[in-house]
């Protein structure tokens, strides 16, 4: 298995049907990708595959062969969305935050509130009521 992970080529010897989520967390040691439900409902495991936000719990690792995968660790620690989530308290318990930030990246520049709501509809947050997350995304854009 070869793919690009956070701008680095990786080659892994893993079962092709292993969940991308488990490969990232266990084989690559990238635990910023979280498991909330294991059935693609909560979005806590969202990563970017070739620029699209996908639930890593639903993706067999064979599907990312040759693809570009970005996890929260790939953003470093000074991405505008990360700063905005801190400034606007878009993260409370923080378990949905990596997935939220990665999905927010796919919304493009200056998204409208309606676009943000549609775009984040697959990412559940139980703490914020989403308002602070909207404030963070507006601030970053």
């Amino acid at each position: 298995m070869r793919f690009t992970l956070n701008a680095r080529e990786v080659e892994l010897n893993v079962a092709p049907l292993a969940r991308l989520l488990d490969v990232l967390r266990e084989d690559c040691g990238l635990t910023g990708t979280k498991e909330g439900c294991g059935e693609g409902e909560c979005g806590a495991c969202t990563v970017l595959v070739d620029g699209d936000a996908v639930c890593a719990c639903l993706v067999p690792v064979a599907q990312v062969e040759g693809a570009e995968v970005v996890t929260i660790e790939g953003l470093g620690d000074d991405h505008p969305l990360q700063r905005a989530f801190m400034d606007e308290v878009g993260a409370q318990c923080g378990i949905c935050t990596p997935g939220m930030i990665l999905t927010a990246i796919t919304l493009g520049p200056r998204p409208s509130l309606a676009k943000i709501r549609r775009g984040l509809a697959g990412n559940l947050c139980r703490c914020t009521g989403y308002e602070a997350i909207y404030r963070a995304i507006h601030r970053a854009s």
Partner: protein
Amino acid sequence: MTMLNAVGQSVPRKDGIGKATGQARYADDLRFPGMLHGRTIRSTIPCGRLTAVRFDFDPTGFTVVDHRDIPGWNVVTLIADDQPCLVEREIRHVAEPVLLLAHENREALFGAPVALEEEPAEPVFDPERSPTTFKTILIEKGDLLAGFAAADHVVEGTYRTGHQEHVYIEPQAVIAVPEDGGMTVYGSIQCPFYAHRALAVILGDLVARVRVIQTETGGGFGGKEEYPSGIAAHAALLALKSGRPVKLVYDRVEDMLATTKRHPAIVRHRTGLSRDGRLVAMDVEVILDGGAYQTLSAVVLSRGAIHAAGPYRCDNIRIAARAMFTNTPPNGAFRGFGAPQTQFGVEVHMERIAESLGLDPVRLRERNLLRPGDTTATGQRVGEDCAALEVLRTAVRRSGFRRKRKAYAGTARGIGLAMYWHGSGFTGSGELKLASRATIELTATGVRVLTSSTEIGQGTRTMHAQIVADALGIPYEQVEVALPDTGVVPDSGPTVASRTCMVVGRILQRTAEEIRAKLGDLTPAEYFGRHGPLAVTGQYEQPEWIRWDEIDYRGDAYAAYAWGCDVVEVELDRDTWEVRPVRVTVVNEIGKAIHPALARGQVEGGTAQGLGYALLEQVVMRNGAMANAQLTNYIIPTTLDTPKLDVVLLEHPYAGGPFGAKGLGELPIDGPAPAVVNAIRQLGIDVRGIPAVPEAIREAACASP
């Protein structure tokens, strides 16, 4: 006069960077050398006996634990000590833990076939027909009969609320690590000392030292208050037997099937009113479905009962409350702790009173709301900080309630409101019994705060650091907050009951003032440099005016109350019978917002969770088990289900709170459900229960005249 530099400012969260970068370490992110994974085998019947356990696999590499492996007492200790850690013979609910397995390979572990032989007996599911009462509470004020005799009108009604699942996004997770002749448990835990006490009882004398360390916690809402004690024990038993670290993480299905939920409730009201709409007699019956073990039902019932008459003045009140046994997984702590159920009842009832007497719903409430100096159902005189009228008037004005109510008449839109209040801290003499402690110690760069109060998203670390910074007169950045580790921090009581800011924060404030006095003109770092370490531990001091009679349920139930009013606008789809919230106005009076952005976050999040409780979140129980134990069909609000939330925070300082702060965390969950149902009432639909899912709305609409 203390200068406020941090308090009242939305300073950066202490944990912000870790959470925004994915570096924060939650329980499932931790790995230990030689670690095994754990699995729980559970009962499949709601009531009966376990007769045999059959293994159909090669046990090599497996660690197997049943009740005979418990070195101490087979009980998850809490209030009643009735819940076994592992089933011996009697089964009281589906998904009761029977057997534990561990293996280093997760696939092998979960692939191992284990069959239980169970002998079913007749279960009880209806709390009103249950032969077993866990707890009764009776609150009496004035003369109920005389009140009804003087009444011009009597209005009656029954109101029902369903289960609610917490849906913290991080499922339950703990890791037990045998080390240094003791046992260390890391976990997603709200109350490390609860788990510590439970472990000590289960492990007994065999394990000399037990230590519980909270890991970063992905939401709790009460669901990680008492429940993790049992999981911690399971992991520890496996670790004890295998001699290796054991990680026990629930998947979502197991989490929803097995763990506690909000108690379903039936609330009956019979209310006497004078001709001009004054409450003259309130007779309230509250029934909570406790599930199969007592857990915290007695105290959930207590808070529910005390809040059951709403924030209203009435001279003649009887509140008779009981928590009942049923053969369903035990219900437990959930944000609001009984108060959302009983306040749903009273606020929907108030709306029906307004309707049947032809009174304006705002005026009816204005006439009856508690004012400073009035007494509650327990006879407590509310203080000058009582803001009930102000929150009502602010919410009505800001939302355009009166104008919209006229404009929406006869349309598919409705607008409704609900008043609510929430007592901060443990009930009655509870805080005195807890005798919480908190420590501040000097460091080379400032101070470190040591408490067992956990950060579960609400902002504990940040808010405590702000309080200490201003009480000491040092920059916020110079205050560190220690990890809740029972081996290091004092017992500050559990992180529950909206007490972390008001109660523990106050102990920290006083402790910081004590240190400030010792330092003279030096900063903490300077003092540390010259004189070496200094640590001061403060203890809770009850305000001297508090009087509480635990037997008669009379007196000062809570040191302070926070006040709220919600106005909800809804829209009905007449084809699908779906009701959607369109806009919500929330006015909350909380004493003092230590961190305005965090406070607002609590209100917004609690309101969204309350909207889910009102409209979406339906636990379907079949033969005593949750039939929809997954996020595909147990629906919590998404971005598309959560409307615009307009939040106003008011501040009437409470003298006994840090910088005037009262409790806040639970308050906002009390209001949304009754406000939603009262808005649906404006559409001419007589809904008296939640969740008001489309099927229920359709049924009510077809039954309404």
